[in-house]
Subunit: 425 residues, 2 copies
C-alpha cells in the first residue's frame, strides 16, 4: 500500500456529544498511530444515530485509508456501529458461533453467571469476511475488514477495552501494512514561553521537513518535538540526532530533559541517583511542590516532607524563624525565603530544601508587585535565592513558582548555575 | 431562528491528532451547549492545515447552524483558524487597534514586559464585521460572525481560556438566539460513585422530561444536573425546585452543595462564615489538601498552614508525635492519624485540623491493604477518625482521601455526623 497511510478515528456515542465523557480513546489511538507512522488527519465524534453515522463514514472513506471506529459495539439498542459500517460498505452480518461461546465463558468465569440476556448475542454478529478481534477485556468483539481500498477497524468504546484491544489486535494488524518507521523525541523546557522558544527556532523549524520540529505549549512549560520518518528505526534515530544537538546548542540548559514525563520526575531521578533527599517550606505555593513530588511513585525515597507555612506566625511556630527577623525584612523577601529553606532542611533533616514566599494574588502587600515570589534553595553550605516577577493570576503564579523551585533543584544537582532569570511568555 | 439549533465543534490543532493533548474543550463546550438546549451532532478535530481545515468547515456549514472552533488563534505561524474561516466565508481580515492596545496592556501588566514580538499582533486581526470576544485570560481574542445563515464562534484552544471565554462571551451570545430560557442547577456529591447515585435515581431520571436530571462523573465526585426549559427564568426556576427537593430527599447529606465550584470552596466558605481556621497534617496526600485549599483566593483568612510529614521521622520531628507511639500503633493507624491532627491543630494554632496517613501505593506495608487511608479531624475537644479502603491506584487514592478529609470538615461545620462510610464506585 501507499505510504504514509492516513487514518480517521470515528468515535460513536451520544454521551461524547453531551460532554458526559471525554474522548480519551481518540487520543490514545492517535498516540499509537503516530508511533506507527500513520497520519491522523481527522477525529470525528458522532452520536448513536444511524443516518449521521452513515454520513460520517461516507465522508471518512473519501479522505482516509484507514477508518477506526470506537464505541457502539455493545448489546444495547443504541449499539449500531457494526450494522451501519457493514451497510455502508455493502457487507452482510454473519453470526459467529465461536464468539457466542466465548461470551458464555466470559459471563460464567468473569461475571459469574449463566444468565445471559438475549441481546448480548447481537455482539456475535460481525461483517462477513472480517478479521475477528477477540475481546479478552469485555464482551464486545471488534474486527477489521478491507473494502474498496479502505481498511476499517472497529473497537469497543470503554477506554480499558479499547486500549487493550488496540494494542493487542489493531497494532499488529496495522504494523503489517507499512514499511516505514516514525520516531519522535520530546525536549522539555521550563522557564521560557512558547513564543520566545519559537522565535529562537523559527528559521530552523521552517527549513526542516524530515525530521520536523514543532513546539507545544504545556501548562507552564514548552515541549519541542522532533519527528523523523525512515525505513528503519535506526535510520530515524540517526536523523533526529543532529536536530536535537542543534536545538540544545540554541536553547542551552533551559531544556530540562528529553523524553521525560515531568520536571518533578527529573528532579526525583536526580535525587535518587545521588542518594539525596529534599524537603520543602512553602508559603504562596501552599503545598503544591510537595504534592507534585508525592504524585510520583517511590517519592518517599527522596522526599522527607514539607511545611506549608501559610500564615506568618506558622513561619515562626513551625520553622523557628524569629518573629522579629520576619518583621525586619518582610514576609515576602529574599531573606525570609532563605531562612525558610534553611530551617526546613534542618527540621526535616534533608540534603537540600526549597522554599517559596510570595504574592499569588489577588491581594497585594503594598510593597512588592503582585506576582512577586522569592524562591530559595538551601544546601549544606549555601543558600540560593531567585526573585520571580509574574503578575499572572493565582494559578499561574503558583505553577510558575513551583516549576522554578523544582528547576533550581535540577540546576543544582546537575552542576549548572542555580540562579537564573526565569521568563514567563 | 429555528429551534432547536444544532452545533458542530471543530477543534483545530495537530497536537490533538498526535494524541499529545485530550480534547477537553469539545467536552466542556458540549456540556454548556446542552444546557442551552442546542444539539451537538458532530465534533471534528483537524490539524493545523489550511486545506483540511477548509474542507472540515465546508462540511460543517452544510450540516450545522452554529460552528464553534477552538484553537489556532495564537501568535505562531501554525495559528490559522481565523484566516481559514474568514476565507471560507469570504470575509476580509481587519486589524483592530484597540485589541493591539489591550495586548500591550496585558503584556505590561500581567506578563510584566514592554517587549512584544511582532507576531503577537497577528492576534489583533479578525474577520470583518465580527463581534469581538475580548480575552481577559490570555492574549488571543475570539470572535463571532454570521454568514449565509451559519453562525461561527471562534475561541482560543488552551482550556482555561476557552472555558472562561465560552462562559463570558459565547454563552450570552448564544442565549440571545433563543427565546426559550434554559436553566440548570448542579448538585455536587462526594463519597459515592456515579453508578450508585444513578441506581438510586434511575426511575426518577427516566420519568423526567422537563426538567431533566442527569449525572456526570467528575474526578472522584458526581455532579447531578437538573435542567429546565421555560419561557421565563422564573418559570424554569420554579420547575427545578421540586426536582431538587426530591433528589435531596433521596440522597440526603452526601450532597455537599448546589451550584458550588468545589468542595474546598464550600469548606472555605463554612470556615469563613464561622471565623474558624484550619490546618493540615498530611502523609499519603503529600500536600494535596493544603494545595487545594490554597488554590482559593483569600484562603489565608481560614488556612494557617500544614505539615507534609511524609517520612515517619518527620511525624516526630515536626509534629512531635513520640517515636515509640508511632512504633506501637504503626504509622498507618487510626491512632497516628488522630495524633497528627491533634498536633497540627496545636502547632498551627488553628480551630480545627485534618490529617491523613495511608498507603497510596504502589508499595504496601505488609499490614494494611493497599489503598487504606486513615483520615482524622481534630477539634478543640474531640478527634474523629475514618478508615477508607480503596485499592484504586495512587492518584485516585490521594484524590479520594483529600475529598474525604475536606468532607469531614464540611460535615463537622454543618452539624452532621462526621464519621460516615465513604464509597468508591
Amino acid at each position: 500500500m501507499k505510504n504514509p497511510l492516513n487514518a480517521e478515528i470515528i468515535s460513536v456515542g451520544t454521551e461524547l456529544l453531551l460532554g458526559n465523557i471525554t474522548n480519551t480513546d481518540a487520543r490514545d489511538i492517535s498516540v499509537s498511530l503516530s508511533e506507527l507512522g500513520i497520519n491522523v488527519f481527522y477525529h470525528t465524534v458522532v452520536g448513536d444515530n444511524p443516518e449521521r453515522l452513515t454520513k460520517a463514514v461516507n465522508i471518512a472513506r473519501g479522505r482516509a485509508d484507514i477508518i477506526i471506529t470506537t464505541g457502539g459495539l455493545g448489546p444495547t439498542c443504541d449499539d449500531l456501529t457494526k450494522q451501519v459500517l457493514a451497510g455502508a460498505f455493502g457487507l452482510e452480518m454473519v453470526f459467529h458461533e465461536e464468539l457466542a461461546e466465548e461470551m458464555k465463558r466470559y459471563f460464567k468465569e468473569i461475571i459469574g453467571t449463566d444468565n445471559i440476556t438475549e441481546n448480548n448475542f447481537q455482539q456475535a454478529y460481525l461483517p462477513s469476511g472480517c478479521t475477528v478481534f477477540h475481546n479478552e477485556w469485555g464482551t464486545a468483539p471488534g474486527c477489521a475488514f478491507v473494502s474498496g481500498g479502505v481498511r476499517v477497524i472497529m473497537l469497543p468504546g470503554p477506554p480499558r477495552e479499547c486500549n487493550a484491544m488496540f494494542q493487542a489486535c489493531a497494532m499488529p494488524y496495522l504494523r503489517a501494512l507499512s514499511d516505514e518507521v516514525i520516531l519522535s523525541h520530546s525536549l522539555m523546557i521550563v522557564g521560557s514561553g512558547e513564543s520566545a522558544v519559537e522565535a529562537k527556532l523559527r528559521d530552523m523549524m521552517n527549513e526542516l521537513t524530515n525530521p520536523t520540529l514543532a513546539p507545544y505549549a504545556k501548562e507552564g512549560e514548552v515541549m519541542l518535538r522532533v519527528t523523523a520518518k525512515a525505513e528503519t528505526g535506526e535510520e530515524a534515530e540517526r536523523m533526529t540526532r543532529p536536530v536535537i544537538a542543534k536545538v540544545k546548542e540554541i536553547l542551552g540548559d533551559i531544556i530540562y530533559g528529553t523524553d521525560v514525563t515531568s520536571l518533578e520526575q527529573v528532579v526525583f531521578e536526580l535525587l535518587k541517583g545521588k542518594k539525596m533527599t529534599l524537603s520543602t517550606a512553602e508559603s504562596c505555593t501552599g503545598g503544591f511542590i510537595a504534592k507534585r513530588i508525592t504524585d510520583l511513585r517511590g517519592s518517599s525515597e527522596v522526599f522527607c516532607g514539607g511545611a506549608v507555612t501559610y500564615s506568618t506566625e506558622s513561619k515562626t511556630a513551625v520553622l523557628g524563624i524569629p518573629a522579629d527577623y520576619i518583621a525586619k525584612y518582610g514576609v515576602i523577601s529574599a531573606e525570609v525565603a532563605s531562612q525558610m529553606a534553611k530551617h526546613a532542611r534542618t527540621l526535616f533533616n534533608s540534603s537540600i530544601a526549597v522554599a517559596t514566599t510570595g504574592l499569588a494574588g489577588p491581594d497585594g502587600d503594598g510593597i512588592n508587585p503582585l506576582g512577586t515570589v522569592f524562591v530559595a534553595l538551601a544546601t549544606e553550605n549555601e543558600v540560593f535565592v531567585t526573585r520571580l516577577s509574574s503578575g499572572l493570576g493565582r494559578a499561574r503564579v503558583r505553577n510558575f513558582a513551583s516549576n522554578c523551585a523544582l528547576d533550581m533543584v535540577r540546576r543544582y544537582l546537575t552542576g549548572l548555575s542555580v540562579v537564573v532569570e526565569y521568563h514567563r511568555k
